[in-house]
Every structure is written in C-alpha cells, then in structure tokens.
C-alpha cells in the first residue's frame, strides 16, 4: 500500500478483514512482525505512537476516544502539545512567552473548531456533545497536531444520511485546506464511493482489489467477499 501526497484513499473490507489492524500498525499501536512502514521515506515501524504522531501522522478512532473530562476546546488544545516550544520551567513560572504561546494555541484551536462548526460549544464538556459532533471533534483534534497524513477510522459510523453527506464535504474540504493525505476506513459505501479517489479492498488481511471506485464496484472478487460466493 502506498499513498501519494494529497491522496484520498479508501480502505474497505468485510467485518474482521483487518482494517483497524492496519491503522494500528501504521500509527504504532501494534508493532509489525515483518515488513516496513515509511513516512516521507523514513521507516516508522516499531516507534511509539506519540513519536509517529510528532512526525505528522494523526488519526481518529472507530469507537470515539475523546478526552471526556475536558472541554471541546481543551481537547483540541491538547493536540497542540506536539508543537509547543515552552518548557516546564515556563509553565511553572507562567512566563510571558508561555502566556503568548497559550494564547496562540487557544486562538488556532478556536479557528479549527469554527471550521467544524463547534466553536459555539467550545467551552462545553466534550462528553456532552451529540454523537455526530463528537465525531467531528475527533477529526478536529487530530488536525490540531498539524498532520501530513490523517487516518480516519469509520468517521461516518452512526451518522444519519444527511450527516454523512456533510461529513464527505468536510473531509474533502480539509484535504484541500490543510493539504492532507487521507486514509479512510469506512463501512458506509456511499461515503467511500463518494469521497475516495482510490480504494483498496482487503479481506482476511489480504488485498483482493485496488482501483477507482467504479472499478471496485464492478469487481467480482469484492462482490464475493461482501455477499458470499454464488
């Protein structure tokens, strides 16, 4: 599997195909037994997830994992930790440069929330948001690390059709605005077919098809994997 800058790449497959496992391998949650994973030509397999995140890879989770006791804004601010310059001494003394940096983090956090239509609820607890908004907040939080590659694990899960359509536009908008490369896992075929330019289908850990949405839709092997052999 190989992604070029600016790709919007879909990864699909039946339940248990190993999609989330692929995500966990790429982001460092699991260490691969063999093979290599590279980001900008640098091998990243076996490194800690936090180190990989610092290199410009960010993700969302299939089952929402927001920081529940924090406000919406704080969730986004937490990700900015990756780029902070002030040390612990500045934090303890609350130096002027720290206050300036905190102000910047806050400002860019609010701007990001605005894009996702969450700025009005910035000071509410993240756990009090409706489900769809929590999904969007997860994407906003991931973007706050200023990634080059964004991995979305079933971003449309549990959304109603209208929310899913809005999400598609949002994903495309983010890709263009932040010049992202996006890898998407999704069960909602409307979203995958609507937004991805290239799709890879896996089943039991093996790639069974790779191509444009149209090619995938007509591929007999894919139909077999999803619907069962005739």
């Amino acid at each position: 599997m190989s992604l070029n800058p600016g790709d919007l790449y879909g990864l699909i497959g039946p339940n248990g195909a190993g999609k989330t496992t692929v995500f966990n391998l790429i982001t460092g949650v699991y260490t691969p037994d063999e093979g290599s994973i590279e980001l900008d030509g640098r091998a990243i397999q076996g490194r800690k997830p936090s180190a990989i995140a610092k290199q410009g890879m960010s993700r969302t989770f299939q089952n929402i994992r927001l920081f529940k006791s924090m406000t919406v804004l704080e969730n986004v601010q937490t990700s900015s930790h990756v780029h902070k310059k002030q040390g612990m001494f500045d934090a303890i003394m609350r130096t002027r440069s720290l206050k300036a940096e905190e102000g910047e983090i806050r400002q860019s956090g609010l701007e990001l929330l605005k894009i996702f239509g969450l700025d009005k609820r910035a000071h509410e607890l993240a756990s009090n948001l409706p489900y769809g908004s929590q999904r969007r907040l997860e994407i906003a939080r991931a973007l706050a690390t200023k990634p080059k590659v964004l991995l979305l694990d079933e971003p449309a899960a549990g959304m109603n059709p209208q929310e899913a359509v809005d999400l598609m536009h949002l994903i495309q908008f983010c890709r263009d605005k932040f010049q992202l490369t996006i890898l998407l896992v999704e069960h909602n075929m409307k979203v995958v077919m609507g937004v991805c330019e290239k799709i890879q289908v896996i089943d039991y850990g093996e790639t069974i098809a790779l191509g444009s949405p149209k090619e995938i839709r007509d591929d007999p092997k894919v139909i077999e994997a999803y619907l069962g052999g005739a």
Binding site: A53, K54, R94
Partner: protein, 318 residues
C-alpha cells in the same frame, strides 16, 4: 509585576503570622496548624499523580519518609561542617541556608526514588503502580527500622529545628502555585489526557510514559519537601509516622476533597487533619469516622466536596 506583588504580600503575611501565631493560639493549636500545612503539601502533590494524571499511587508516605530522613540525617551529621563553610553568614541566616539545603536534598532524594519506582511501573497500563508503590512504602519503612545511624526503631532524635509556620506555609504556597500552573498549561492537558484516554493521548503525540513519570517525580519531590519540613519541625522522626496508614489518610484527603481538584486536596487536608486531632482521645476508634465519611461522600457527593469547581479555573495562579 503582579507576581512580585503577590509574593511580597504573601511573604509579609507569613512573616507576620509567624511572629504572632504561636503566642496567640498556644503550642498545641500551633502544632496542628503546622500539620495541616504539611498535609496540604502532601495532598496537593499526591493529587497531581492520582487525581490529575489518573495513576493510582498508594505509597506517598514512602517518599515523605525518604525526604524526612534524607534532610534530617544530612543536617544532623553535616551541620557543623556546613556551618563551617557558611561562617561568613550570621547564625540566623545560616539556619535558613541549612534548611534550604536540607529541603533541596529531600526533594532530590524523593524525586530520584520516584524515578526509580516510576520508570518500570509506569511503562505499563493498569494497577501496577498501586502495587509497586505500596511495596515501596513498606520497603522504605523497614529499611529505616534497620538503619542504626538514623535511630532505627528507637526513632531519630536531635534533628536540628529549623522549620516553622513561615517555612511550612511558604512551601505549601509554592506547591499549590507550581501544581496550579502546571495543571493549567499544556503539561496539565497532557496529564489529564492520559487520565481520560491513554491510547488517544498517545495518538495525539503525548508521550504517555514520559508524562506519567514526570507527574510522578514532581509529586514525589513535593512529598520529600514535606518530609524535610516535618523532620525539622518535630526534631524527632519515628518510622511509625510513615506507615502505610499515612498514605491512606492522604488518599482519603483527596477523595473527600475531590479527585483532581487542588482546592479539594487543600480542603481534604484541613478536614482530615482536624478530624484526626478532634477525635484523638478515641484512639483507634477514630478511624471509624473515615469509614462513615467515605460512605457518605460516595452516596451523596461521589465527585468529592469540591468536585470540579476551581477558583482559578483554566487560568493559572501567580
């Protein structure tokens, strides 16, 4: 500028109280006030690791002991030598420098102990820290019981008396300000993100092991300082002070006050210290109070008395 004014006023108030307090309220109440101050340092520091970072440490008394015995033995055995080096200073100034040396050594020793305990146990998720810290606290106590140079089971007598209301409350204030500012910075957000969801924190670029160890070491260092202040106030140390019941009192303080809340930890420290004193004549029966108190808290206010409320919410103190 605001910071400077804050500290000048704080120092003046502390010095004024130091001058008048003991004479006004008497030695007994003065001693309780001191214990309240020491417990505030302990509870607020324990709250950083248990409440804010969400790791369960039940061996805070161990770090308290390390600090107390380090500072006590350093100044007991090294006093005359250090005074020799400091002979250019007046005697009262020497006392201050000696106390600060002792407390620095206490903080370093306790922090180092925290690092040793934290690195292996905080790399893992789950309850390992609780198990290891419980063991650590007991190991320290048993070690002290067997070291003759620090009085073993007889207790450590003749520790120089340097600390008083002024120093205890100055360090209580420093502890509160440092923890406050830390919690209300990107460090605090990293700590809280670990408590809320470790996997997500790691994916957002928070090196969870490093931040857990950091939080734990800072917490241990303040416990060490509290130990030093205690040793140089009572001038006598007994291993019994550092039994694991002490760790449990500290946990009760932060649970009653409200996990993760600095005001809660302060309130809990005051409340529990006072309850322990008020019911002193009941001996072991006074522990029943805590059982009742905890049951009531769990039934009627599980988030603790203070809960999530905070004076300086999201801003940071001076």
């Amino acid at each position: 500028m605001k910071k400077a004014i804050f500290w000048v006023v704080a120092l003046a108030v502390l010095a004024l109280l130091q001058a008048g307090l003991e004479g006004t309220i008497g030695a007994y109440y003065y001693q309780i006030v001191i214990y309240v101050g020491i417990n505030i340092i302990l509870a607020v520091s324990l709250n950083l690791i248990n409440g804010t970072t969400g790791q369960f440490s039940i061996g805070h008394a161990g770090f308290y002991a390390v600090g107390a015995y380090t500072s006590a033995s350093l100044l007991y055995y090294g006093q005359s030598m250090l005074r020799g080096w400091l002979s250019f200073l007046p005697h009262a100034a020497q006392d201050v420098v000696l106390l600060l040396i002792g407390l620095s050594a206490a903080a370093l020793a306790a922090g180092f102990a925290g690092l040793l305990v934290g690195i292996p146990s905080l790399r893992l998720r789950g309850d390992y820290l609780a198990i290891v810290t419980l063991g650590f606290g007991e190991i320290i106590r048993v070690l002290i019981l067997n070291i003759n140079a620090v009085g073993a089971a007889r207790g450590f007598l003749g520790i120089p008396e340097f600390s008083n209301f002024f120093w205890v409350y100055l360090f209580a204030l420093i502890t509160v300000v440092v923890v406050y500012n830390l919690v209300n910075s990107s460090y605090g957000r990293a700590f809280i993100s670990i408590r809320d969801d470790e996997i997500a924190a790691e994916a957002m670029g928070v090196d969870t092991t490093r931040f857990k160890v950091l939080s734990f070491v800072i917490s241990s260092m303040f416990a060490g300082i509290a130990g030093g202040l205690f040793a140089h106030f009572t001038a006598f140390l007994s291993p019994n002070t550092f039994q694991f019941t002490t760790s449990f009192y500290l946990i009760i303080m932060i649970v009653v006050g409200g996990m993760g809340s600095i005001e809660g930890a302060i309130l809990g420290a005051i409340l529990i210290t006072v309850i322990l004193e008020v019911f002193r004549e009941f001996g072991a029966f006074r522990f029943v109070n805590f059982a009742v108190l905890l049951v009531l808290i769990m039934l009627y206010r599980p988030q603790g008395i203070v809960g999530n409320w905070s004076v300086f919410k999201r801003r940071g103190a001076f």
